[in-house]
């Protein structure tokens, strides 16, 4: 992925073997509804990429396309496979967690383990059992008897025990309380990710995954509206807490977003590559306290309609 891109592209080293995911003009419609409107993607191997967008933006359709569960048009390569033609081969090296409710409810926990052990050549049963032994999950219980948090723990145990190159998570912590959500991401980072795998996460709870991400993609109405590396995001955007006497000066610097706060406004500025076109950082410091904006702030600025 290129350091900074705009206008609906998330491009990097086109067609490079380093790309875990490469898509060109990915399209999908349901009847008259266009879910994906010509999306291009390049996600490098080893990246932890957040796919952020409002409800109905097309996040799930993108993720389902990546694992061959949705018949999207366009060019698509996921860790060297076309998921539409070789889903079985792809899923030997990729895992997908759709959301917390998808494990088969009628099976016992041990049955699920047995099944994955039988059908997945890269599943390490002992590793899954070790992980489960650190939880309160009873192996003889049926999935429907587990709490949402436990189901997620079970799913995570299965995924972490599979030696995969790509992990795709679609709202994996939806409906969980904050303790389970935090534990989920902690374990993902400490017990699964070792820098070799590529992880793509879609979520509404941006603030919870912000610190994990190396790459970021904003999607809206089936199009990518913005994408960047996280390091670049920090260089690229500046948030300034401006007091009322400096509002007019701040407005002259063309903020991309502003929101009222107690006693002032927080202005968000985007610094272009062309330094002639945008002010020096020191100019911002004269306006007020300068900080790095959160992903949620940038998201609101990019998708929320701009200036207040």
């Amino acid at each position: 992925m290129e350091e900074m891109t705009r206008d609906g592209l998330a491009l990097g080293d086109r067609g490079s073997p380093e790309s875990a995911i490469r898509a060109r003009q990915l399209r999908k419609s349901y009847g008259g509804f266009v879910a994906l409107d010509g999306i291009d993607l390049d996600i490098p191997r080893g990246a932890i990429c957040g796919l952020i967008g409002p409800n109905g933006a097309g996040k799930t359709t993108v993720l389902k396309s990546l694992v061959g569960l949705c018949d999207a048009g366009g060019d698509l390569s996921v860790i060297g496979h076309d998921p539409r033609l070789a889903r079985e081969a792809l899923m030997q090296d990729a895992c997908f967690i759709a959301d917390v409710g998808v494990l088969p409810k009628s099976l016992r926990v041990i049955d699920v383990l047995d099944y994955v052990d039988d059908v997945h050549p890269k599943f390490d049963r002992e590793k899954a059992l070790r992980f489960l032994s650190t939880t309160d999950i009873d192996l003889r219980k049926r999935v429907k008897a587990l709490s949402k948090g436990m189901v997620t723990q079970l799913h995570l145990a299965l995924v972490m025990a599979i030696d995969v190159e790509l992990l795709i998570l679609d709202e994996p912590t939806l409906g969980l309380d904050i303790i389970y959500r935090q534990e989920f991401y902690d374990r993902l980072l400490t017990q699964f990710y070792d820098g070799r795998q590529t992880i793509v996460i879609s979520t509404h709870q941006v603030e919870e995954i912000e610190s994990l991400l190396s790459h970021l993609i904003f999607i809206s109405h089936g199009k990518i509206v913005f994408s960047t590396e996280m390091e670049a995001l920090q260089r690229r955007f500046v948030e300034v807490a401006v007091t009322p006497e400096n509002f007019s000066l701040a407005d002259e610097l063309k903020p991309i977003h502003a929101r009222s706060t107690l006693g002032g406004k927080d202005y968000l500025f985007e610094i272009d590559d062309d330094e002639q076109a945008t002010p020096d950082r020191r100019q911002f410091e004269r306006l007020g306290r300068v900080s790095t904006p959160s992903v949620a702030d940038v998201f609101l600025a990019k998708l929320g309609g701009g200036h207040e």
Binding site: K64, V67, L69, C70, D71, R87, E88, A89, L90, M91, Q92, C95, F96, I97, A98, G101, V102, L103, P104, K105, S106, L107, R108, D111, D114, Y115, V116, D117, D118, V119, H120, P121, H155
Partner: protein, 288 residues
């Protein structure tokens, strides 16, 4: 990968696929046959107790001594015919299972979990076919055999206390075993003959958004009515009727088995079933 490890992997995968079907359908595949066999055993015992001790003694004497010296292969078909009702149960269980087999995981969204495993849609659908044609008859037969053994041992012990000699024991066991084997073969034969029905139901199970069995039956009725009204013929109805009697599938010998399996009608049914099953695989693929 060596050939042997590829075979081991494939065998494990199929074990996983078939065990999944059994584990997900315990009620239908295990508990329902157990209940049926238990009811049959209890009814048999209840009927037996209605008779006087003299009549019971005579019946046990007949059972254990009438078979002495007989050819088990000649007598077994009688018992097989008596067990024809089991075919109705087996086919009923299999078709009920098929109706929800590709539907229930879509309804509860576990479809996304199953699809996240390295298993093709073809393998998934074929595992349903194998389950209906082989696994369900095998499980039913195992439960039926267990019930027969319990009933047989009870009768032998009771006869022993009545002072009846068990001279025809070996022949009786042989006859029972052969009859059970024929019932098993008949069940598999029936399911193979019903491959068009298997494919038809799977097709609706893979795509219907609710009550797939109703859609499958409704579809057949609609096609049949269409033929009668538009073409003024009833070929479909007659063809379905020609495959609806359990008696026609009863196998009484290995020659019988060959005669029922290797016919053009069977071949036609297998091809039609194959086309419908392929349709179900495609439906599964696009049911997102």
């Amino acid at each position: 990968m060596s050939d042997s490890s590829a075979v081991t992997l494939a065998a494990r995968r199929w074990r996983g696929l078939l065990m999944r079907e059994i584990r997900e359908n315990r009620s239908l595949m295990l508990y329902a046959p157990c209940l049926l066999v238990l009811v049959a055993v209890l009814l048999g015992l209840r009927l037996f107790t209605l008779f006087s001790v003299e009549r019971q003694t005579a019946a046990m004497d007949l059972l254990f001594n009438r078979f002495e010296g007989i050819n088990a292969l000649e007598i077994a078909p009688l018992l097989t015919s008596a067990g024809a009702l089991n075919l109705v149960f087996i086919v009923g269980i299999a078709l009920s299972y098929l109706a929800t087999s590709l539907y229930s995981d879509r309804r509860e969204l576990s479809y996304l979990f199953w699809q996240s495993m390295p298993i093709s849609d073809r393998a998934t659908v074929m595992s349903k076919v194998v389950t209906s044609v082989l696994v369900i008859p095998a499980i039913y037969l195992a439960i039926l055999t267990l019930g027969s053994i319990i009933l047989f041992i009870s009768a032998a012990v009771y006869s022993f206390f009545l002072g009846i000699e068990l001279n025809g024991l070996v022949e009786l066991v042989s006859t029972l075993s052969i009859a059970l084997g024929f019932i098993g073969l008949s069940a598999v034969t029936a399911m193979l003959w019903l491959l068009p029905a298997v494919g038809w139901i799977l097709l609706f199970s893979a795509y219907a958004t609710r009550v797939p069995l109703l859609w499958a039956i409704g579809g057949l009725v609609a096609l049949s009515l269409f033929e009668q009204v538009v073409l003024s013929s009833n070929t479909l109805e007659a063809w379905m009727a020609s495959r609806s009697s359990p008696w026609q599938y009863l196998v009484f010998s290995l020659d019988d088995l060959g005669a029922r399996l290797f016919t053009y009608d069977m071949l036609f049914g297998a091809v039609l079933g194959g086309i419908l099953i392929s349709g179900a695989i495609l439906m599964r693929r696009f049911a997102d």
